[in-house]
C-alpha cells in the first residue's frame, strides 16, 4: 500500500466522505495507479462518473489483498470545449488489467484514454450525453458483428470462424471471432453487449425493493453473490449493523450457490469431453443444491432472500437440522462422483494442458475468482476482505498452479469440498438473532463499496450518496469483466475444438458483463 495522502484507505463495511478522496491531475492518474501496482495493489475497479458541470470524475480502486484494505483515488476531467473529447493518458497502455474498464469509461462518457492499445466498443451503446466515443458515433441501425473493427490475421492458410451471437445450446448471446490456422487458434476476439439493459440506472430506482431485485438479476446464476455485494455497500453507507444470524444465513446461501454452480460446471466439463457418467450425476446433484436454496427462501436461485438490512427468510433450528442432514448425505455422494471423475485418465487427458495461462499473465490482466486461483494467484475475497460470517469462520483458499482447464476444475473440486465442510459447520452451530432490521438513513456525500467472492470471482458494488443522503450513483462489477479477456488469451495456440471446453472452464457471465 502507499501512504502520504495519495490514496485514501478503506475496507469492506466502511464508508468514505467524498471530499476525503484524493484527487490527482488527469496526466498523473495512470502513473499513480501504476505506482500502486508496484506496491502490491490489484486493480479492483476503475470507472468514471459524470459530474453535474459536465466534467467527469474518474475513480480507481486498488485492492491490497494481503492487507485486507482497498485504496481509492480520483481524478477530475474538466468539461471539455465543444467538439473535443476529454482525455487522459490511458492506464491500459501500462497495465492491461484496465483494458475493459477503460473501454467502459470511453463508451459511457465519451472520454478518450489516450494510448489505449485496444480501444473498441465494449457493450455497443451510445454515450450518456450523446457525444461521440473515441471510435466515433454510435449507430444503432447496425448490428454488432456487422460493424465492429475486428482484429484480423491475413495469410494463405488462415481462416476465420464466426460463432454466435445465436448459439446451438441454450446459452447467452455473444459473438466469438476466431482467426485460425488449420485447427489452431491464432487469435480469439470476444464481442459482447447483446444483453446491455442499463442495470446501473435501474439500480437507482426510487423503490428500494425493486432495485434489490435488479441486483439479483445482474447475473441470474449469481443472484446471491450480487445481492450480497449490493447489501454490503448499502449497509456500509447506512452504517448499519446486520445481525450475526442474518450474516450466517447469507453465508449459507452464498456457499449453496457456489456448490450448485461449481458442481454444475464440473458436470458440464464432463459433458464437453463426452464423459457421460460425470455429466449425468453432477447435473442431477446441481439440482439437489438448488433445491436446498429453495427450502430456505422458496426460490432455487435465492431470489428475494437477501435485502439491505438482513435476510427476508429465517433459517430456524428445525430447518437447519434438515439442511444439515441433507447436506451430509449429499456430501458423500458428491465427493464419490468427483473422485470417480478425477480418477478417469481419459478425462484428465482432455483437461490437462488445455487453455493454460501463467501466473504472470493472470496478474497482468487482473484475473479473479477460480480462474485466477488456478494460475496460482492467492486471491479470494472471503479470505482477503472478509465480510459478514467470513469474519468469524474461515474457508481455506484453494490454489492450483498449472492454469489450465485441469487446474480450474481442481480449484472447483477443492472449493466444493471446503464449502461443504464450511456449511456443515455453520449449520451445526447457528447463532440466533433477528434476521432483519430496516436500514437507517444513508450518510450524505459518501461512498462505500461491497465486495463478494461469488462462485465466479469478485463482484463489487460501489454506491454514492448526494448531499441529501439519497443514492445517486451505483457502479457494478461482475467478475466476468476481468475474466473474458483471460479466456481470449487462454485460447491462443489451442486447437479450436478445445474452445468449448476452455469456455466452460471459465464459465463467464454475458449478462453480468453487459449489465
Amino acid at each position: 500500500m502507499t501512504g502520504d495522502g495519495k490514496w485514501i484507505t478503506t475496507r469492506q463495511g466502511e464508508s468514505v466522505d467524498l471530499a476525503a478522496i484524493p484527487c490527482v491531475e488527469p496526466n498523473s492518474f495512470a502513473e499513480r495507479i501504476i505506482d500502486g501496482k508496484s506496491h502490491g495493489g490489484r486493480l479492483a475497479q476503475l470507472f468514471g462518473r459524470r459530474a453535474p458541470d459536465g466534467g467527469v470524475t474518474l475513480y480507481a480502486f486498488l485492492a491490497y489483498d494481503s492487507d485486507g484494505i482497498v485504496q481509492v483515488c480520483s481524478s477530475r476531467l474538466a468539461a471539455p470545449a465543444p467538439g473535443r473529447a476529454p482525455e487522459y493518458p490511458s492506464v491500459s497502455a501500462l497495465w492491461p488489467a484496465a483494458q475493459a474498464l477503460e473501454r467502459e469509461i470511453a463508451e459511457q462518457l465519451g472520454v478518450h484514454p489516450v494510448g489505449h492499445p485496444w480501444l473498441k466498443p465494449l457493450r455497443y451503446h451510445g454515450t450518456d450525453n450523446g457525444a461521440p466515443a473515441p471510435w466515433g458515433q454510435f449507430n444503432p441501425a447496425k448490428t454488432i458483428p456487422g460493424d465492429y473493427p475486428f482484429y484480423r490475421v491475413d495469410g494463405e492458410e488462415v481462416h476465420e470462424v464466426a460463432v454466435g451471437p445465436v448459439h446451438a445450446g441454450v446459452i447467452e448471446p455473444g459473438h466469438f471471432r476466431f482467426q485460425c490456422h488449420g485447427e489452431e487458434v491464432l487469435h480469439l476476439e470476444i464481442v459482447l453487449g447483446y444483453q446491455h439493459r442499463g442495470v446501473e440506472a435501474l439500480l437507482l430506482h426510487r423503490n428500494a425493493t425493486r432495485s434489490a431485485m435488479v441486483a439479483e438479476t445482474i447475473a441470474g446464476d449469481t443472484s446471491i453473490g450480487h445481492a450480497f455485494a449490493y447489501c454490503a455497500a448499502l449497509e456500509a453507507l447506512a452504517g448499519a449493523r446486520v445481525s450475526v444470524h442474518a450474516h450466517a444465513i447469507r453465508g449459507i446461501a452464498l456457499e449453496l450457490e457456489r456448490l450448485a454452480n461449481h458442481i454444475g460446471d464440473l458436470g458440464a466439463l464432463c459433458g464437453d469431453v463426452a464423459f457421460l457418467p460425470g455429466a449425468s450425476y453432477l447435473g442431477r446433484l446441481r439440482g439437489e443444491f438448488l433445491n436446498l436454496t429453495l427450502e430456505i427462501c422458496g426460490n432455487r436461485f435465492g431470489r428475494n432472500l437477501l435485502r439491505p438490512g438482513g435476510v427476508l427468510f429465517d433459517v430456524d433450528s428445525e430447518l437447519a437440522d434438515r439442511l444439515h442432514k441433507r447436506l451430509k448425505s449429499l456430501q458423500a455422494e458428491v465427493l464419490q462422483v468427483l473422485d470417480m471423475v478425477f480418477m478417469q485418465p481419459s478425462v484428465l487427458a482432455r483437461f490437462e494442458g488445455a487453455g493454460a495461462l501463467s501466473e504472470a499473465q493472470a496478474e497482468e490482466i487482473g484475473l479473479v475468482g477460480p480462474a485466477a486461483r488456478a494460475c496460482g494467484c492467492m486471491r479470494d475475497v472471503r479470505h482477503d476482505h472478509p465480510h459478514g460470517v467470513y469474519q468469524f469462520s474461515h474457508i481455506p483458499v484453494a490454489i492450483e498452479t498449472t492454469g489450465d482447464v485441469y487446474a480450474r476444475a481442481v480449484v472447483r473440486w477443492l472449493e466444493v469440498q471446503r464449502s461443504l465442510a464450511f456449511l456443515l459447520e455453520l449449520l451445526g452451530n447457528k447463532p440466533a438473532g433477528k434476521p432483519f432490521a430496516p436500514l437507517g438513513a444513508f450518510k450524505p456525500n459518501a461512498m462505500a463499496f461491497g465486495m463478494c467472492e461469488t462462485w465466479r470471482g469478485e463482484a463489487m458494488h460501489v454506491a454514492f450518496t448526494d448531499n441529501t443522503g439519497a443514492l445517486d450513483f451505483i457502479k457494478v462489477k461482475d467478475p466476468s469483466i476481468h475474466n473474458w479477456f483471460g479466456l481470449a488469451l487462454a485460447l491462443r495456440g489451442v486447437p479450436i475444438s478445445d474452445f468449448p471446453l476452455c469456455n466452460k472452464s471459465f464459465n463467464l457471465s454475458y449478462a453480468g458483463h453487459d449489465l
Binding site: G169, D272, V273, A274, L276, P277, S280, R350
Partner: protein, 311 residues
C-alpha cells in the same frame, strides 16, 4: 427349393435393412442406463425417421445441386455396399471376386459426397468438419485395407462374402493372434467411421468440436433422414464385418444363423454404448495416434498370417 432360398434371402435382406435404427437405440439405451436414466423409447429412431420423411427440406440459397445430391448419393452408395456385405448370414445378395475393393470405395464415395455437400454450404463450421472427416477417413483406410489383406490371405479369396465366411474358423486355429489384432483394428475403424466416442461425440451440441454432426447441420427433412439412416447402416455394415471375423459361423443353418447374428449385433451396439459411457472423448489431435495404432495392429496381423504360411 430354389424359390425357398430366394424367399429366405429376401427376408434376410429386409431384416438387415430394418435393423440399423434399432442398433442406435441399443446404444442410446445403454448410455441412458449408465447415466441413471430411462432413455428414449426403443423405437424412437424409427419414429424420427418417419417424422423426417414426412417433412419438407429447407435449402440455403448459397447451395447448389451438390448439396441436394450429397445425401442421396451417400445413401445409394451405402445401400449398394450393403448388397455386398454379408450381414445376417454367410451369404451376401451380390458378390464377385474383388468386390472388397468396391465396398471400401463405396464407403469412400459416400463420404466424399457428404463432404462435398458440407463444403457446398460455404459454412466455416462445415468446412472444419469436412476437413476432419477427410483426415480421419484417410487415416482409417490403411487399417481397414491391411485387415482385408489378412482376411484375403487367410481365406484365399477377394470376395467379401467368402473372406468373411466359415473358412475363418480354420484361421483362428492357424493364426489366432492375427485375428485378435484384426478385431482390434476393425473396432477402431468402426468407432471412427461410425463417428462414435472416443473419436467423435454424436451427442454434443458444440459445433466447434463435432466431426460428422457438423457436416450435416444444414440438411433437413427427408435428406436428413437418409443421412441418419445411412449412418446407422454404415455402423451395421462395419459391425457385421467385425462380427464375422470375431465369431465365424459354420455353414449356415437357415434360421439359427440370422437370429444369432442379430443377437451379436445388438451385443456389439451394447459394447459401443459401454465404451461411450465409460470414457471421455479423445482430444482431436490425439485421434491420428489412435488410427495409427489401428494400422499398426493390422500390419502386425499381416506379418503373422504370412509368417504362418511361409515359415
Amino acid at each position: 427349393m430354389n424359390t425357398v432360398w430366394v424367399m429366405v434371402a429376401f427376408l434376410e435382406a429386409l431384416a438387415a435393412l430394418a435393423l440399423p435404427p434399432l442398433l442406435m437405440s441399443v446404444i442410446a439405451k445403454t448410455k441412458a442406463w449408465f447415466g441413471g436414466r430411462v432413455g428414449p423409447p426403443w423405437l424412437q429412431p424409427y419414429y424420427e425417421l418417419a417424422k423426417l420423411l414426412r417433412k419438407n427440406a429447407v435449402y440455403s440459397e448459397t447451395t447448389t445441386w451438390v448439396f441436394r445430391a450429397g445425401p442421396i448419393i451417400s445413401l445409394a452408395a451405402l445401400l449398394t455396399a450393403a448388397a455386398l456385405v454379408p450381414v445376417l448370414s454367410n451369404r451376401s445378395p451380390l458378390g464377385f471376386p474383388g468386390d472388397v475393393i468396391l465396398v471400401a470405395y463405396l464407403f469412400a464415395l459416400g463420404r466424399m459426397f457428404t463432404v462435398l455437400a458440407a463444403m457446398d454450404t460455404g459454412s466455416s463450421f462445415e468446412g472444419m468438419g469436412a476437413s476432419r472427416e477427410v483426415t480421419f477417413g484417410a487415416m482409417s483406410e490403411p487399417a481397414l485395407f491391411l485387415a482385408f489383406v489378412v482376411l484375403a490371405v487367410a481365406t484365399g479369396s477377394l470376395q467379401l462374402s467368402q473372406m468373411l465366411g466359415p473358412t475363418l474358423l480354420d484361421e483362428w486355429q492357424i493364426a489366432g493372434p492375427a485375428m485378435v489384432l484384426v478385431i482390434g483394428a476393425l473396432l477402431v475403424v468402426l468407432l471412427t467411421e461410425a463417428c462414435r466416442v472416443p473419436v467423435d461425440d454424436p451427442a454434443t451440441h458444440l459445433e466447434l468440436t463435432m466431426i460428422h454432426e457438423v457436416m450435416v447441420l444444414d440438411h433437413s427433412g427427408p435428406e436428413f433422414a437418409y443421412i441418419t439412416y445411412g449412418a446407422a447402416l454404415k455402423f451395421m455394415l462395419l459391425g457385421s464385418v467385425l462380427l464375422h471375423v470375431a465369431i465365424p459361423h459354420p455353414e449356415s443353418f437357415v434360421f439359427l444363423d440370422p437370429v444369432l447374428r442379430v443377437v451379436e449385433l445388438v451385443a456389439l451396439a451394447g459394447v459401443v454404448g459401454v465404451i461411450e459411457s465409460a470414457m471421455a472423448r479423445l482430444r482431436l489431435n490425439r485421434v491420428p495416434l489412435l488410427l495409427a495404432g489401428a494400422t499398426v495392429l493390422s500390419a502386425i496381423a499381416v506379418v503373422i498370417v504370412f509368417a504362418r504360411r511361409t515359415l
